[in-house]
Protein backbone atom coordinates (compact mmCIF):
# COMPACT_ATOMS: atom_id res chain seq x y z
CA UNK A 1 0.00 0.00 0.00
CA UNK A 2 2.86 2.30 0.84
CA UNK A 3 4.29 2.03 -2.65
CA UNK A 4 0.93 2.02 -4.38
CA UNK A 5 0.62 5.78 -4.44
CA UNK A 6 4.08 6.15 -5.97
CA UNK A 7 3.33 3.51 -8.55
CA UNK A 8 0.02 5.14 -9.36
CA UNK A 9 1.48 8.63 -9.73
CA UNK A 10 4.32 7.45 -11.92
CA UNK A 11 1.87 5.50 -14.10
CA UNK A 12 -0.38 8.54 -14.53
CA UNK A 13 2.62 10.71 -15.37
CA UNK A 14 3.88 8.21 -17.96
CA UNK A 15 0.47 8.11 -19.64
CA UNK A 16 0.26 11.87 -19.51
CA UNK A 17 3.66 12.27 -21.11
CA UNK A 18 2.87 9.78 -23.87
CA UNK A 19 -0.47 11.36 -24.74
CA UNK A 20 0.72 14.93 -24.30
CA UNK A 21 0.69 16.96 -27.49
CA UNK A 22 2.22 20.36 -27.87
CA UNK A 23 -0.54 22.88 -28.42
CA UNK A 24 0.55 24.22 -31.78
CA UNK A 25 1.42 22.65 -35.09
CA UNK A 26 4.11 23.90 -37.45
CA UNK A 27 3.07 26.72 -39.78
CA UNK A 28 -0.20 27.25 -37.93
CA UNK A 29 -1.51 30.80 -37.74
CA UNK A 30 -2.48 31.44 -34.15
CA UNK A 31 -3.87 34.14 -31.92
CA UNK A 32 -2.55 34.00 -28.39
CA UNK A 33 -4.27 35.79 -25.51
CA UNK A 34 -2.30 35.55 -22.32
CA UNK A 35 -0.68 37.39 -19.45
CA UNK A 36 3.04 37.97 -19.85
CA UNK A 37 4.54 35.96 -17.02
CA UNK A 38 8.21 36.68 -17.47
CA UNK A 39 10.20 39.88 -17.76
CA UNK A 40 10.73 40.65 -21.49
CA UNK A 41 14.38 40.85 -22.54
CA UNK A 42 15.19 44.16 -24.22
CA UNK A 43 17.44 44.40 -27.26
CA UNK A 44 18.37 47.53 -29.23
CA UNK A 45 15.27 47.73 -31.39
CA UNK A 46 13.13 44.83 -30.23
CA UNK A 47 12.01 42.92 -27.12
CA UNK A 48 11.65 39.19 -26.62
CA UNK A 49 9.54 37.07 -24.26
CA UNK A 50 7.89 33.66 -23.97
CA UNK A 51 4.18 33.06 -24.23
CA UNK A 52 2.70 29.54 -24.03
CA UNK A 53 6.03 28.01 -24.89
CA UNK A 54 6.67 30.21 -27.93
CA UNK A 55 9.40 32.80 -28.27
CA UNK A 56 8.02 36.12 -29.45
CA UNK A 57 10.04 39.10 -30.67
CA UNK A 58 8.23 42.44 -30.95
CA UNK A 59 9.52 45.97 -31.72
CA UNK A 60 10.77 47.82 -28.61
CA UNK A 61 7.67 49.99 -28.44
CA UNK A 62 5.02 49.80 -27.18
CA UNK A 63 6.88 48.24 -24.27
CA UNK A 64 5.49 44.96 -22.97
CA UNK A 65 6.11 44.37 -19.27
CA UNK A 66 5.71 41.53 -16.88
CA UNK A 67 2.05 41.28 -15.89
CA UNK A 68 0.59 42.84 -19.04
CA UNK A 69 -2.27 41.06 -20.77
CA UNK A 70 -1.59 40.80 -24.50
CA UNK A 71 -3.26 39.46 -27.63
CA UNK A 72 -0.73 38.55 -30.32
CA UNK A 73 -1.14 36.97 -33.75
CA UNK A 74 1.54 35.15 -35.69
CA UNK A 75 2.71 31.99 -37.39
CA UNK A 76 4.21 29.09 -35.45
CA UNK A 77 7.66 28.12 -36.65
CA UNK A 78 9.55 25.70 -34.43
CA UNK A 79 9.45 27.22 -30.97
CA UNK A 80 9.06 30.75 -32.25
CA UNK A 81 6.06 32.84 -33.25
CA UNK A 82 7.05 34.46 -36.55
CA UNK A 83 5.67 37.78 -37.84
CA UNK A 84 4.06 38.54 -34.50
CA UNK A 85 1.53 41.34 -34.43
CA UNK A 86 0.47 42.93 -31.17
CA UNK A 87 -3.33 43.26 -31.39
CA UNK A 88 -4.00 44.46 -27.88
CA UNK A 89 -2.18 45.23 -24.66
CA UNK A 90 -3.69 45.84 -21.24
CA UNK A 91 -1.25 46.93 -18.60
CA UNK A 92 -0.94 44.88 -15.46
CA UNK A 93 -2.61 46.87 -12.71
CA UNK A 94 -2.25 44.54 -9.79
CA UNK A 95 -1.02 45.91 -6.48
CA UNK A 96 1.78 43.36 -6.34
CA UNK A 97 2.85 44.16 -9.86
CA UNK A 98 3.14 47.84 -8.91
CA UNK A 99 5.02 46.95 -5.74
CA UNK A 100 7.48 44.90 -7.74
CA UNK A 101 8.01 47.76 -10.20
CA UNK A 102 8.63 50.14 -7.30
CA UNK A 103 11.14 47.80 -5.67
CA UNK A 104 12.96 47.43 -8.97
CA UNK A 105 12.88 51.21 -9.42
CA UNK A 106 14.42 51.69 -5.96
CA UNK A 107 17.28 49.36 -6.87
CA UNK A 108 17.89 51.07 -10.20
CA UNK A 109 17.79 54.56 -8.72
CA UNK A 110 20.20 53.71 -5.92
CA UNK A 111 22.98 51.80 -7.63
CA UNK A 112 24.79 51.74 -10.98
CA UNK A 113 25.01 48.82 -13.41
CA UNK A 114 25.71 45.96 -13.11
CA UNK A 115 25.24 46.21 -9.32
CA UNK A 116 21.54 47.06 -9.60
CA UNK A 117 20.90 44.25 -12.12
CA UNK A 118 22.70 41.76 -9.94
CA UNK A 119 20.53 42.71 -6.96
CA UNK A 120 17.36 42.68 -9.09
CA UNK A 121 18.39 39.19 -10.18
CA UNK A 122 19.17 37.72 -6.77
CA UNK A 123 16.24 39.29 -4.94
CA UNK A 124 13.46 39.34 -7.53
CA UNK A 125 14.74 36.99 -10.24
CA UNK A 126 14.51 39.87 -12.76
CA UNK A 127 17.24 39.80 -15.35
CA UNK A 128 15.72 41.73 -18.25
CA UNK A 129 17.73 44.90 -17.66
CA UNK A 130 21.01 43.12 -17.12
CA UNK A 131 23.94 44.24 -19.29
CA UNK A 132 24.62 41.48 -21.83
CA UNK A 133 28.34 41.31 -21.02
CA UNK A 134 27.52 40.62 -17.39
CA UNK A 135 24.99 37.90 -18.23
CA UNK A 136 27.60 36.25 -20.46
CA UNK A 137 30.14 36.44 -17.64
CA UNK A 138 27.69 34.81 -15.24
CA UNK A 139 27.03 32.01 -17.70
CA UNK A 140 30.69 31.37 -18.44
CA UNK A 141 31.57 31.14 -14.76
CA UNK A 142 28.65 28.83 -13.93
CA UNK A 143 27.09 31.39 -11.58
CA UNK A 144 24.01 32.27 -13.66
CA UNK A 145 21.76 30.30 -11.30
CA UNK A 146 21.97 33.05 -8.69
CA UNK A 147 19.87 35.34 -10.88
CA UNK A 148 17.48 32.65 -12.14
CA UNK A 149 14.26 32.44 -10.18
CA UNK A 150 14.68 29.04 -8.63
CA UNK A 151 14.32 27.15 -5.41
CA UNK A 152 17.48 28.78 -4.16
CA UNK A 153 16.03 32.28 -3.85
CA UNK A 154 13.05 30.82 -2.04
CA UNK A 155 15.21 28.80 0.31
CA UNK A 156 17.39 31.82 1.02
CA UNK A 157 14.39 33.92 1.93
CA UNK A 158 13.07 31.13 4.11
CA UNK A 159 16.33 30.56 5.96
CA UNK A 160 16.82 34.29 6.43
CA UNK A 161 13.35 34.64 7.89
CA UNK A 162 13.75 31.62 10.14
CA UNK A 163 17.13 32.90 11.32
CA UNK A 164 15.71 36.33 12.06
CA UNK A 165 12.38 35.24 13.54
CA UNK A 166 13.79 32.65 15.92
CA UNK A 167 15.47 35.54 17.70
CA UNK A 168 12.07 36.81 18.79
CA UNK A 169 9.71 33.84 18.42
CA UNK A 170 9.53 30.17 19.30
CA UNK A 171 10.69 27.96 16.45
CA UNK A 172 7.26 26.62 15.50
CA UNK A 173 5.78 30.10 15.06
CA UNK A 174 8.88 31.26 13.25
CA UNK A 175 8.49 28.50 10.68
CA UNK A 176 4.85 29.38 10.06
CA UNK A 177 5.77 33.06 9.63
CA UNK A 178 8.62 32.12 7.33
CA UNK A 179 6.26 30.15 5.09
CA UNK A 180 4.03 33.22 4.85
CA UNK A 181 7.14 35.22 3.99
CA UNK A 182 8.10 32.76 1.27
CA UNK A 183 4.70 32.98 -0.37
CA UNK A 184 4.67 36.75 -0.10
CA UNK A 185 8.07 36.75 -1.74
CA UNK A 186 6.75 34.42 -4.45
CA UNK A 187 3.96 36.90 -5.12
CA UNK A 188 6.28 39.90 -5.35
CA UNK A 189 8.90 38.22 -7.48
CA UNK A 190 6.35 37.44 -10.17
CA UNK A 191 3.78 34.82 -9.38
CA UNK A 192 4.85 32.73 -12.34
CA UNK A 193 5.58 29.09 -12.85
CA UNK A 194 9.22 28.85 -11.71
CA UNK A 195 8.65 30.71 -8.48
CA UNK A 196 5.41 28.95 -7.62
CA UNK A 197 6.93 25.51 -7.99
CA UNK A 198 10.05 26.64 -6.18
CA UNK A 199 7.85 27.89 -3.37
CA UNK A 200 5.86 24.64 -3.28
CA UNK A 201 8.89 22.40 -3.25
CA UNK A 202 10.91 24.73 -1.09
CA UNK A 203 8.32 25.15 1.63
CA UNK A 204 7.46 21.46 1.80
CA UNK A 205 11.05 20.38 2.04
CA UNK A 206 12.07 23.21 4.30
CA UNK A 207 9.32 22.75 6.82
CA UNK A 208 9.65 18.98 6.94
CA UNK A 209 13.35 19.33 7.44
CA UNK A 210 13.10 21.91 10.18
CA UNK A 211 10.42 19.88 11.89
CA UNK A 212 12.95 17.12 11.87
CA UNK A 213 11.30 14.53 9.67
CA UNK A 214 13.61 14.22 6.73
CA UNK A 215 11.59 11.33 5.29
CA UNK A 216 8.51 13.52 5.04
CA UNK A 217 10.55 16.06 3.15
CA UNK A 218 11.71 13.61 0.52
CA UNK A 219 8.20 12.27 0.10
CA UNK A 220 6.69 15.74 -0.05
CA UNK A 221 9.18 16.80 -2.65
CA UNK A 222 8.64 13.69 -4.76
CA UNK A 223 4.85 13.84 -4.68
CA UNK A 224 4.67 17.57 -5.38
CA UNK A 225 7.06 17.18 -8.33
CA UNK A 226 5.01 14.32 -9.78
CA UNK A 227 1.72 16.18 -9.34
CA UNK A 228 3.11 19.29 -10.98
CA UNK A 229 4.34 17.27 -13.95
CA UNK A 230 0.97 15.57 -14.33
CA UNK A 231 -0.66 19.01 -14.56
CA UNK A 232 2.08 20.57 -16.68
CA UNK A 233 3.91 17.80 -18.60
CA UNK A 234 5.98 20.30 -20.59
CA UNK A 235 7.78 21.33 -17.40
CA UNK A 236 9.78 18.11 -17.58
CA UNK A 237 12.21 19.83 -19.96
CA UNK A 238 11.95 23.23 -18.25
CA UNK A 239 15.25 24.40 -16.85
CA UNK A 240 13.68 26.30 -13.97
CA UNK A 241 11.70 23.24 -12.90
CA UNK A 242 14.73 20.97 -12.98
CA UNK A 243 16.81 23.51 -11.08
CA UNK A 244 14.18 23.97 -8.38
CA UNK A 245 13.86 20.23 -7.96
CA UNK A 246 17.58 19.63 -7.80
CA UNK A 247 18.26 22.59 -5.53
CA UNK A 248 15.68 21.37 -3.04
CA UNK A 249 16.80 17.75 -3.27
CA UNK A 250 20.44 18.56 -2.74
CA UNK A 251 19.67 20.84 0.19
CA UNK A 252 17.89 17.89 1.79
CA UNK A 253 20.78 15.61 1.01
CA UNK A 254 23.79 17.75 1.78
CA UNK A 255 22.88 20.61 4.07
CA UNK A 256 23.11 18.77 7.41
CA UNK A 257 26.54 17.43 6.48
CA UNK A 258 27.79 20.79 5.28
CA UNK A 259 26.56 22.46 8.45
CA UNK A 260 28.72 20.05 10.41
CA UNK A 261 31.70 20.60 8.14
CA UNK A 262 31.45 24.35 8.63
CA UNK A 263 30.61 24.17 12.32
CA UNK A 264 33.54 26.52 13.04
CA UNK A 265 31.65 29.40 11.37
CA UNK A 266 29.28 31.69 13.30
CA UNK A 267 25.74 30.31 13.26
CA UNK A 268 24.07 32.88 11.00
CA UNK A 269 26.77 32.65 8.34
CA UNK A 270 27.05 28.90 8.64
CA UNK A 271 23.38 28.18 7.96
CA UNK A 272 23.20 30.42 4.93
CA UNK A 273 26.50 29.19 3.66
CA UNK A 274 25.63 25.54 4.07
CA UNK A 275 22.22 26.05 2.44
CA UNK A 276 23.52 27.87 -0.62
CA UNK A 277 26.47 25.57 -1.05
CA UNK A 278 24.25 22.52 -0.73
CA UNK A 279 21.86 23.88 -3.35
CA UNK A 280 24.74 24.47 -5.71
CA UNK A 281 26.06 20.95 -5.48
CA UNK A 282 22.95 19.66 -7.26
CA UNK A 283 22.37 22.64 -9.50
CA UNK A 284 25.88 23.11 -10.86
CA UNK A 285 26.08 20.10 -13.21
CA UNK A 286 22.77 21.03 -14.87
CA UNK A 287 23.91 24.62 -15.31
CA UNK A 288 27.10 23.37 -16.96
CA UNK A 289 25.17 21.15 -19.33
CA UNK A 290 22.46 23.67 -20.18
CA UNK A 291 24.56 26.71 -20.80
CA UNK A 292 27.10 24.57 -22.62
CA UNK A 293 29.95 26.31 -20.90
CA UNK A 294 31.93 24.09 -18.69
CA UNK A 295 34.14 26.05 -16.37
CA UNK A 296 36.32 23.73 -14.39
CA UNK A 297 36.76 26.41 -11.73
CA UNK A 298 33.01 26.82 -11.28
CA UNK A 299 32.72 25.04 -7.91
CA UNK A 300 35.55 27.22 -6.65
CA UNK A 301 33.95 30.39 -8.03
CA UNK A 302 30.62 29.42 -6.54
CA UNK A 303 32.18 28.80 -3.17
CA UNK A 304 33.95 32.16 -3.40
CA UNK A 305 30.73 34.07 -4.07
CA UNK A 306 28.37 31.98 -1.95
CA UNK A 307 28.86 33.91 1.30
CA UNK A 308 27.86 37.20 -0.37
CA UNK A 309 24.53 36.00 -1.74
CA UNK A 310 22.55 35.70 1.48
CA UNK A 311 23.52 39.10 2.97
CA UNK A 312 23.18 40.70 -0.48
CA UNK A 313 19.64 39.36 -0.84
CA UNK A 314 18.71 40.39 2.69
CA UNK A 315 20.03 43.94 2.51
CA UNK A 316 18.66 44.52 -1.00
CA UNK A 317 15.27 43.20 0.07
CA UNK A 318 15.12 45.29 3.22
CA UNK A 319 16.67 48.35 1.54
CA UNK A 320 14.25 48.43 -1.38
CA UNK A 321 11.29 47.89 0.96
CA UNK A 322 12.44 50.67 3.31
CA UNK A 323 12.93 52.87 0.23
CA UNK A 324 9.18 52.74 -0.36
CA UNK A 325 8.64 54.67 2.86
CA UNK A 326 11.87 56.62 3.37
CA UNK A 327 13.67 56.87 0.00
CA UNK A 328 16.94 58.27 1.37
CA UNK A 329 17.29 55.66 4.09
CA UNK A 330 16.51 52.93 1.56
CA UNK A 331 19.24 54.27 -0.69
CA UNK A 332 21.80 54.32 2.11
CA UNK A 333 20.94 50.72 3.03
CA UNK A 334 21.29 49.65 -0.60
CA UNK A 335 24.69 51.35 -0.80
CA UNK A 336 25.80 48.95 1.94
CA UNK A 337 25.62 46.13 -0.60
CA UNK A 338 28.35 47.75 -2.69
CA UNK A 339 31.26 45.89 -1.05
CA UNK A 340 29.38 42.60 -1.57
CA UNK A 341 28.31 43.25 -5.15
CA UNK A 342 31.74 44.67 -6.03
CA UNK A 343 33.38 41.53 -4.70
CA UNK A 344 30.87 39.29 -6.50
CA UNK A 345 31.29 41.18 -9.79
CA UNK A 346 35.07 41.24 -9.37
CA UNK A 347 35.24 37.47 -8.88
CA UNK A 348 32.94 36.79 -11.84
CA UNK A 349 34.89 39.15 -14.11
CA UNK A 350 38.19 37.67 -13.01
CA UNK A 351 37.18 34.17 -14.06
CA UNK A 352 34.98 35.03 -17.06
Amino acid sequence: MKYFIWFFLILVLTLRLITYNPKFSEGQKVRISDTVSSEPIKYSYYQGFNLQGLKIYLPSYPEVSYGDFVIIEGVVEGRELKNPLLIEKKEGRGVLYKLREKLLGNLRKALPEPHSSLLAGVTLGIKSGMPSYFWEALKSTGTAHVVVASGMNVTLVASFLIGLLTIFLPRGKAIVMAIFGVWFYALISGFDAPIIRAAIMGSIAFVAQKVGRLNYAWRGLGISALLMLIVKPNWITDLGFILSFLATASILAFEPKLEKTFSFLPKVIKENFATSLAAQVGVAPVIFLTFGQFNILSPLINTAIAPTIAPMTMIAGVGSLVGLLIPDLGKILLLLTIPLTSYFIGVVKLFA
Binding site: K42, Y61, P112, E113, K267, I315, L335, I338, P339
Partner: protein
Protein backbone atom coordinates in the same frame (compact mmCIF):
# COMPACT_ATOMS: atom_id res chain seq x y z
CA UNK B 1 20.54 37.92 21.56
CA UNK B 2 23.96 37.06 20.28
CA UNK B 3 22.93 36.96 16.63
CA UNK B 4 21.68 40.55 16.79
CA UNK B 5 25.27 41.58 17.42
CA UNK B 6 26.34 39.62 14.36
CA UNK B 7 23.94 41.67 12.25
CA UNK B 8 25.12 44.89 13.85
CA UNK B 9 28.79 44.06 13.32
CA UNK B 10 28.01 42.98 9.77
CA UNK B 11 26.35 46.33 9.04
CA UNK B 12 29.23 48.29 10.62
CA UNK B 13 31.77 46.28 8.63
CA UNK B 14 29.92 46.82 5.38
CA UNK B 15 29.53 50.55 6.07
CA UNK B 16 33.26 50.82 6.60
CA UNK B 17 34.04 48.95 3.39
CA UNK B 18 31.50 50.99 1.45
CA UNK B 19 33.15 54.21 2.66
CA UNK B 20 36.58 52.94 1.62
CA UNK B 21 35.23 52.07 -1.83
CA UNK B 22 33.51 55.45 -2.04
CA UNK B 23 36.79 57.20 -1.33
CA UNK B 24 38.58 55.28 -4.05
CA UNK B 25 35.97 56.01 -6.71
CA UNK B 26 35.72 59.78 -6.13
CA UNK B 27 36.30 62.09 -9.13
CA UNK B 28 39.56 63.95 -9.70
CA UNK B 29 39.90 67.64 -10.69
CA UNK B 30 40.10 67.05 -14.42
CA UNK B 31 37.48 67.13 -17.13
CA UNK B 32 36.87 63.71 -18.64
CA UNK B 33 35.14 63.76 -21.99
CA UNK B 34 33.99 60.30 -22.98
CA UNK B 35 32.46 59.23 -26.25
CA UNK B 36 30.64 56.13 -25.07
CA UNK B 37 30.69 52.99 -27.16
CA UNK B 38 26.95 52.57 -27.59
CA UNK B 39 27.02 50.95 -31.02
CA UNK B 40 25.42 52.91 -33.85
CA UNK B 41 24.44 56.16 -32.14
CA UNK B 42 25.78 58.98 -29.99
CA UNK B 43 26.28 59.27 -26.25
CA UNK B 44 28.87 61.72 -24.95
CA UNK B 45 29.57 62.07 -21.25
CA UNK B 46 31.47 64.94 -19.65
CA UNK B 47 32.53 64.39 -16.04
CA UNK B 48 33.97 67.31 -14.10
CA UNK B 49 34.40 67.33 -10.30
CA UNK B 50 31.27 65.40 -9.44
CA UNK B 51 29.16 67.10 -12.10
CA UNK B 52 28.10 65.34 -15.26
CA UNK B 53 26.74 66.38 -18.62
CA UNK B 54 25.33 63.71 -20.92
CA UNK B 55 24.78 64.58 -24.55
CA UNK B 56 22.46 61.98 -26.17
CA UNK B 57 21.89 58.45 -24.93
CA UNK B 58 22.61 56.15 -27.87
CA UNK B 59 20.03 53.61 -29.03
CA UNK B 60 19.61 51.46 -25.93
CA UNK B 61 20.60 50.58 -22.36
CA UNK B 62 24.32 50.34 -23.15
CA UNK B 63 24.69 53.99 -22.14
CA UNK B 64 24.08 52.85 -18.54
CA UNK B 65 27.28 50.77 -18.64
CA UNK B 66 29.23 53.85 -19.70
CA UNK B 67 27.67 56.00 -16.95
CA UNK B 68 28.41 53.29 -14.38
CA UNK B 69 32.01 53.08 -15.51
CA UNK B 70 32.83 56.79 -15.35
CA UNK B 71 30.63 58.05 -12.49
CA UNK B 72 31.22 57.34 -8.79
CA UNK B 73 28.92 54.52 -7.66
CA UNK B 74 26.99 56.63 -5.17
CA UNK B 75 26.29 59.43 -7.65
CA UNK B 76 22.98 58.74 -9.37
CA UNK B 77 22.34 62.31 -10.47
CA UNK B 78 23.30 63.74 -13.85
CA UNK B 79 23.28 67.52 -13.69
CA UNK B 80 22.57 68.17 -17.37
CA UNK B 81 21.18 65.88 -20.06
CA UNK B 82 20.98 67.13 -23.63
CA UNK B 83 19.08 65.48 -26.45
CA UNK B 84 20.42 66.88 -29.72
CA UNK B 85 17.40 65.74 -31.73
CA UNK B 86 14.63 63.15 -31.31
CA UNK B 87 15.91 60.20 -33.37
CA UNK B 88 16.14 56.79 -31.77
CA UNK B 89 19.94 56.40 -32.08
CA UNK B 90 20.16 59.53 -29.89
CA UNK B 91 17.22 59.32 -27.47
CA UNK B 92 16.72 55.51 -27.11
CA UNK B 93 19.10 55.11 -24.16
CA UNK B 94 17.77 58.27 -22.47
CA UNK B 95 14.60 56.30 -21.65
CA UNK B 96 16.78 54.02 -19.52
CA UNK B 97 18.73 56.99 -18.11
CA UNK B 98 15.53 58.62 -16.84
CA UNK B 99 14.53 55.32 -15.22
CA UNK B 100 17.82 54.89 -13.41
CA UNK B 101 19.13 58.40 -12.73
CA UNK B 102 17.94 61.68 -11.35
CA UNK B 103 18.39 64.42 -13.94
CA UNK B 104 18.99 68.07 -13.00
CA UNK B 105 18.07 69.79 -16.26
CA UNK B 106 16.91 68.32 -19.54
CA UNK B 107 17.74 70.25 -22.70
CA UNK B 108 15.85 69.33 -25.86
CA UNK B 109 14.14 70.88 -28.85
CA UNK B 110 10.41 71.37 -29.09
CA UNK B 111 10.25 69.51 -32.38
CA UNK B 112 8.36 66.24 -32.00
CA UNK B 113 8.99 62.75 -33.22
CA UNK B 114 5.97 60.57 -33.84
CA UNK B 115 7.69 57.40 -32.65
CA UNK B 116 6.27 55.41 -29.75
CA UNK B 117 9.68 55.45 -28.06
CA UNK B 118 9.81 59.24 -27.95
CA UNK B 119 6.34 59.33 -26.40
CA UNK B 120 7.66 57.06 -23.65
CA UNK B 121 10.60 59.43 -23.08
CA UNK B 122 8.32 62.49 -22.97
CA UNK B 123 6.10 60.79 -20.38
CA UNK B 124 9.10 59.87 -18.26
CA UNK B 125 10.48 63.41 -18.42
CA UNK B 126 7.12 64.82 -17.44
CA UNK B 127 6.64 62.34 -14.60
CA UNK B 128 10.10 63.06 -13.20
CA UNK B 129 9.32 66.77 -12.94
CA UNK B 130 12.76 67.68 -14.29
CA UNK B 131 13.38 71.25 -15.50
CA UNK B 132 13.15 71.31 -19.32
CA UNK B 133 14.99 73.91 -21.38
CA UNK B 134 14.44 74.41 -25.11
CA UNK B 135 17.83 75.56 -26.42
CA UNK B 136 18.63 78.30 -28.93
CA UNK B 137 21.95 79.81 -29.94
CA UNK B 138 21.59 82.24 -27.02
CA UNK B 139 21.51 79.48 -24.42
CA UNK B 140 24.52 78.59 -22.30
CA UNK B 141 25.16 76.55 -19.17
CA UNK B 142 27.85 76.72 -16.53
CA UNK B 143 28.97 74.07 -14.03
CA UNK B 144 31.83 75.52 -12.04
CA UNK B 145 34.52 76.42 -14.59
CA UNK B 146 32.94 74.21 -17.22
CA UNK B 147 30.94 76.05 -19.89
CA UNK B 148 28.53 74.75 -22.47
CA UNK B 149 27.50 77.16 -25.21
CA UNK B 150 24.73 76.25 -27.60
CA UNK B 151 25.40 77.44 -31.16
CA UNK B 152 22.51 75.72 -32.95
CA UNK B 153 19.55 75.63 -33.50
CA UNK B 154 19.22 79.34 -34.20
CA UNK B 155 16.40 81.09 -32.42
CA UNK B 156 14.81 81.58 -35.85
CA UNK B 157 14.71 77.84 -36.52
CA UNK B 158 13.78 76.88 -32.98
CA UNK B 159 11.07 79.54 -32.80
CA UNK B 160 9.29 78.29 -35.90
CA UNK B 161 5.90 77.11 -34.63
CA UNK B 162 7.26 77.30 -31.13
CA UNK B 163 4.87 77.04 -28.22
CA UNK B 164 5.38 80.31 -26.39
CA UNK B 165 4.86 79.16 -22.85
CA UNK B 166 7.89 80.73 -21.21
CA UNK B 167 9.06 77.37 -19.91
CA UNK B 168 10.49 74.42 -21.75
CA UNK B 169 8.19 71.90 -23.42
CA UNK B 170 8.73 68.79 -25.49
CA UNK B 171 7.05 67.76 -28.72
CA UNK B 172 5.24 71.09 -29.23
CA UNK B 173 5.24 70.84 -33.01
CA UNK B 174 5.97 68.43 -35.83
CA UNK B 175 8.08 69.37 -38.80
CA UNK B 176 8.47 68.16 -42.36
CA UNK B 177 12.15 69.14 -42.16
CA UNK B 178 14.82 66.54 -41.59
CA UNK B 179 15.06 66.14 -37.79
CA UNK B 180 18.87 66.27 -38.14
CA UNK B 181 18.51 69.98 -39.01
CA UNK B 182 17.35 70.66 -35.45
CA UNK B 183 20.45 69.00 -33.95
CA UNK B 184 21.80 70.84 -30.95
CA UNK B 185 25.37 71.94 -31.68
CA UNK B 186 27.38 73.01 -28.65
CA UNK B 187 30.86 74.01 -27.56
CA UNK B 188 32.05 72.55 -24.28
CA UNK B 189 34.96 74.45 -22.75
CA UNK B 190 37.25 74.26 -19.77
CA UNK B 191 40.05 76.84 -19.78
CA UNK B 192 41.84 76.62 -23.10
CA UNK B 193 40.23 73.31 -24.07
CA UNK B 194 37.27 73.50 -26.45
CA UNK B 195 35.22 70.62 -27.79
CA UNK B 196 32.74 71.01 -30.64
CA UNK B 197 29.78 68.67 -30.31
CA UNK B 198 27.81 68.48 -33.52
CA UNK B 199 24.91 66.04 -33.27
CA UNK B 200 23.78 64.93 -36.73
CA UNK B 201 24.24 68.30 -38.44
CA UNK B 202 24.77 68.21 -42.24
CA UNK B 203 26.24 70.27 -45.13
CA UNK B 204 22.95 72.09 -45.74
CA UNK B 205 23.15 73.92 -42.41
CA UNK B 206 26.88 74.14 -41.75
CA UNK B 207 27.42 77.39 -43.74
CA UNK B 208 24.59 79.05 -41.83
CA UNK B 209 26.00 77.92 -38.46
CA UNK B 210 29.50 79.09 -39.36
CA UNK B 211 28.12 82.43 -40.57
CA UNK B 212 26.96 83.16 -37.01
CA UNK B 213 30.66 83.29 -36.12
CA UNK B 214 30.47 81.40 -32.84
CA UNK B 215 32.73 78.55 -33.96
CA UNK B 216 36.46 79.01 -34.23
CA UNK B 217 39.59 77.10 -33.22
CA UNK B 218 38.75 73.98 -31.17
CA UNK B 219 40.82 71.05 -29.93
CA UNK B 220 38.18 68.34 -30.26
CA UNK B 221 35.36 67.67 -32.68
CA UNK B 222 32.66 65.07 -32.56
CA UNK B 223 32.37 64.28 -36.27
CA UNK B 224 28.75 65.02 -37.26
CA UNK B 225 26.29 62.26 -38.11
CA UNK B 226 28.52 59.23 -37.28
CA UNK B 227 30.91 60.08 -40.12
CA UNK B 228 28.18 60.08 -42.77
CA UNK B 229 28.87 61.78 -46.09
CA UNK B 230 25.86 63.87 -45.12
CA UNK B 231 27.75 65.32 -42.18
CA UNK B 232 31.26 66.78 -41.97
CA UNK B 233 32.38 69.36 -44.53
CA UNK B 234 35.80 70.72 -45.48
CA UNK B 235 34.54 74.18 -44.57
CA UNK B 236 33.69 73.10 -41.00
CA UNK B 237 37.11 71.49 -40.57
CA UNK B 238 38.93 74.58 -41.84
CA UNK B 239 37.07 76.85 -39.51
CA UNK B 240 37.20 74.67 -36.39
CA UNK B 241 40.79 73.37 -36.87
CA UNK B 242 40.41 70.39 -34.52
CA UNK B 243 43.39 68.28 -33.43
CA UNK B 244 41.32 65.27 -32.43
CA UNK B 245 38.21 63.97 -34.17
CA UNK B 246 35.95 61.35 -32.63
CA UNK B 247 33.50 59.26 -34.64
CA UNK B 248 30.73 57.56 -32.68
CA UNK B 249 29.70 54.65 -34.83
CA UNK B 250 28.63 50.99 -34.58
CA UNK B 251 30.67 48.05 -35.83
CA UNK B 252 29.52 46.86 -39.28
CA UNK B 253 26.58 49.25 -39.25
CA UNK B 254 24.13 49.01 -42.12
CA UNK B 255 24.67 52.60 -43.22
CA UNK B 256 28.34 52.10 -44.09
CA UNK B 257 29.37 54.85 -41.63
CA UNK B 258 31.93 56.35 -41.47
CA UNK B 259 32.20 57.31 -45.11
CA UNK B 260 35.60 57.03 -46.84
CA UNK B 261 35.46 60.63 -48.03
CA UNK B 262 35.06 61.85 -44.45
CA UNK B 263 37.97 59.71 -43.25
CA UNK B 264 40.09 61.05 -46.11
CA UNK B 265 39.14 64.63 -45.29
CA UNK B 266 40.35 64.07 -41.71
CA UNK B 267 43.59 62.30 -42.65
CA UNK B 268 44.40 64.97 -45.27
CA UNK B 269 44.28 67.56 -42.49
CA UNK B 270 46.40 65.32 -40.22
CA UNK B 271 43.69 65.15 -37.61
CA UNK B 272 43.96 62.29 -35.16
CA UNK B 273 40.80 60.26 -35.68
CA UNK B 274 39.39 58.01 -32.93
CA UNK B 275 36.46 55.67 -33.58
CA UNK B 276 34.24 54.02 -30.99
CA UNK B 277 33.77 50.96 -33.24
CA UNK B 278 37.52 50.36 -33.11
CA UNK B 279 38.46 51.60 -29.64
CA UNK B 280 35.32 51.21 -27.52
CA UNK B 281 34.82 54.20 -25.20
CA UNK B 282 37.05 57.11 -26.26
CA UNK B 283 38.14 59.17 -23.27
CA UNK B 284 39.93 62.53 -23.31
CA UNK B 285 41.27 64.00 -20.08
CA UNK B 286 42.11 67.66 -19.64
CA UNK B 287 42.93 70.15 -16.90
CA UNK B 288 41.90 73.02 -19.20
CA UNK B 289 45.48 73.57 -20.21
CA UNK B 290 46.76 70.39 -21.84
CA UNK B 291 44.81 67.31 -22.77
CA UNK B 292 45.57 63.65 -23.33
CA UNK B 293 43.87 60.65 -24.86
CA UNK B 294 43.36 57.92 -22.28
CA UNK B 295 43.90 54.40 -23.50
Amino acid sequence: MKSIWKYIFGIIGLSFLALVLAGSSASDDKLHLISCDVGQGDAILAVYKGNQILIDGGPDRRVLDCLAKYMPFWDKKIELVILTHPQDDHYGGLVEVFRSYEVGTFVANQVDSSTAGYRVLKNLVEASGVRVVNPTDNTSFRLGLLYLDIVHPSSALADDNKAKTGKGVLGAFTSSRDLNDYSVVAILSLGEFNALLTGDIGPNLIPEILARGEIDDVEYIKVPHHGSKNGLTQELLERSKPEVAVISVGRNNRYGHPHEEVLKMLSDENIKTLRTDELGDVEIETDGDTYSIKQ
